[in-house]
């Protein structure tokens, strides 16, 4: 039996390395093209590497306005989502009621609806209600699509705050919402941060929803503006596209790292998998 374990380990490492390489390869183009002023589709070492592509996209119309829109959209979505989710999670976590279980399973069922399928009817609805091209309406819709997951995550985090701490406050006459604000929320700060970032990342990367619901260029987030970059200018400036893509991706990568470091990778699943 001696020598078998190292061999198994070596084989596993080799297989994993090959898989990892396959996953990295499509990203190599993105990184190399961004610093290559003469980039095309080919992955190649830039002959005269420079930050010219980054400089070219660092303009108010191309980069800053879309990023500000992305920020408004994502932060707005996360705020609306978190406020609604915290309020909903509180009674679900604190009080026994025969409505709790059916409600939780109903919203879990809601997470199953394919959002791309809802976009056609949502567009129709927005036309009827004259909400097309409205930033707030888009924010409320985006908040709703991630709300079921956020309620589950928030409730799970809230369940881990011991009830005894609140009971003392109730004895002193504090109301449910007062104990929520003064006792429960401060104790689950990290969990709330996770939910916020989770929703923010989803909204930041969302292309289809703003693509359908926001019409004017002045309101479009980076996910949509980068697409017009790609499709409409005839000859595509690949290097600039890659540079823009990287600048647009950085905030999400940073936020993910922050959360993943704090709570392992479990955060993405705490809502999805736990019953």
């Amino acid at each position: 039996m001696a020598g078998r374990r190292p061999r198994v380990r070596l084989a596993a490492n080799a297989a994993l390395a090959v898989i990892g390489l396959c996953f990295v390869l499509p990203l190599a183009w993105l990184l190399l093209a961004s610093v290559d002023p003469h980039a095309g589709y080919q992955t190649r070492w830039p002959q005269s590497p420079s930050f010219a592509n980054f400089a070219a996209v660092l303009t108010p119309e191309l980069l800053f306005l879309p990023l500000v829109n992305s920020l408004l959209l994502s932060a707005g979505t996360a705020v609306v989502n978190l406020a609604a989710a915290v309020l909903a999670a509180y009674p679900l976590s604190r009080y026994q009621s025969r409505f709790n279980k059916p409600f939780l399973y109903a919203i879990l069922f809601g997470t199953s609806l394919p959002v791309t399928a809802i976009m056609v009817p949502v567009y129709g609805l927005f036309v009827q209600l004259q909400l097309l091209d409205s930033m707030p309406a888009t924010i409320f819709f985006m908040a709703t699509t991630t709300l079921p997951m956020a309620i589950w995550m928030t409730k799970n985090f809230m369940d881990s705050v011991p009830l005894e701490l609140e009971e003392a406050a109730w004895m002193d006459g504090a109301s449910g919402l007062a104990t929520l604000r003064r006792i429960v929320l401060p104790l689950m700060g990290q969990g709330l941060g996770v939910v916020f970032i989770f929703v923010f990342i989803q909204a930041w990367g969302n292309f289809f929803v703003p693509f359908i619901l926001l019409l004017s260029t002045a309101k479009q987030p980076a996910a949509v503006s980068v697409f017009s970059f790609f499709g409409q200018h005839g000859a595509i400036a690949y290097g600039e596209l890659a540079a823009f893509s990287i600048l647009y991706s950085v905030p999400v990568l940073v936020l993910y790292t922050v959360v993943a470091r704090g709570s392992g990778s479990a955060f993405a699943l705490s809502g999805a998998m736990k019953g």
Partner: protein, 298 residues
């Protein structure tokens, strides 16, 4: 709402406790349930983006659904959706995610963290950026053909010759991280002595994998299959950027078809009919998913 705990308070007060749930319910009713209901309703009308049918849509009964069956694109599109979900999600993401997670129990150190980061990076990147990268990778003189060129093989123009293969591989690349994370968490719960012996341990190891490890994590396998199916059913951006459903509908899955009918051709009625079919499929999988979780919780 003082002292909410007393059993002698009226049931009215107990109802008020649920009041904070109201904003969530309102949002879900307005932006989730209403569109779904409207989708089913509009699919029985000829409502359009412009023209007479935009102002005054007529009830046309099952015409839209009958049209699906005779339409040349819908059956193809339904089939492509099945292929896309079955191959990229169930076979690809699910099996590859499990394989990576199993290999990781045998690995460790630098390789493990390198692979974990690589797999997760393509998942965390904004969808549109991942789609551009995949587009460049599979294009005529893209990375894949450059690699094949190194081996002396002249690669095809993947996005035109084999669009489904390209979008399927791209979706595996993009989505495997989710399954990997699910299975890593599940395998971490398997008793250590069993998991250690599970893989690459000769015939006995494979038997243990099949008869011990997999049965232990079968709950995770079932929920993961449901979730990756639902996620893949909804994929739009990746396909739209890579092939736009083409060439000549060769990669038009149902979300792409619904988009084209509703927004490119302005036929909202037919578009909602296709969307309604997708929503129904989602509901079927959603019901199974909720039942699985309920049973797991009991």
């Amino acid at each position: 709402m003082p002292v909410p705990d007393s059993p002698y308070r009226g049931s009215l007060r107990r109802r008020f406790r649920l009041l904070p749930v109201a904003p969530s319910i309102l949002l879900l009713l307005l932006f989730m349930l209403a569109p779904v209901a409207w989708s089913f309703y509009a699919s029985f009308t000829d409502v359009a983006l412009s023209g007479k049918a935009a102002l005054n849509p007529q009830w046309i009964g099952l015409d839209n659904y009958a049209r699906m069956l005779t339409d040349s694109v819908f059956p193809l599109s339904a089939w492509l959706t099945v292929v896309f979900v079955a191959v990229s999600a169930i076979l690809g993401q699910n099996a590859l995610g499990l394989l990576i997670a199993l290999l990781m129990t045998k690995s460790g150190g630098a390789t493990e963290s390198f692979v974990g980061t690589a797999v997760i990076a393509s998942w965390v990147l904004p969808e549109i950026v991942a789609a551009f990268a995949a587009y460049a990778y599979f294009s005529q003189d893209g990375t894949l053909n450059q690699l094949l060129g190194l081996l002396g093989v002249h690669g095809a123009n993947w996005l035109y010759a084999f669009p489904m293969a390209a979008v399927i591989l791209a979706n595996v690349w993009r989505g495997t991280a989710f399954s990997m994370l699910v299975y890593r968490a599940a395998l971490a719960q398997v008793p250590r002595d069993i998991s250690e012996a599970a893989l690459m341990d000769g015939a006995r190891g494979w038997q243990r994998l099949a008869f011990i490890t997999l049965p232990i994590i079968r709950g995770s396998i079932a929920t993961n299959l449901m979730l990756v199916t639902l996620q893949t059913l909804a994929v739009f951006t990746l396909i739209w950027v890579m092939t736009a459903g083409g060439p000549s509908n060769a990669s038009t899955t149902l979300p792409v078809l619904a988009y084209q009918e509703a927004f490119k051709l302005g036929d909202i009625g037919y578009g909602t009919a296709i969307a309604s079919v997708l929503i129904l499929i989602g509901m079927v999988f959603g019901t199974v998913y909720v039942r699985l979780l309920r049973r797991a919780n009991q």
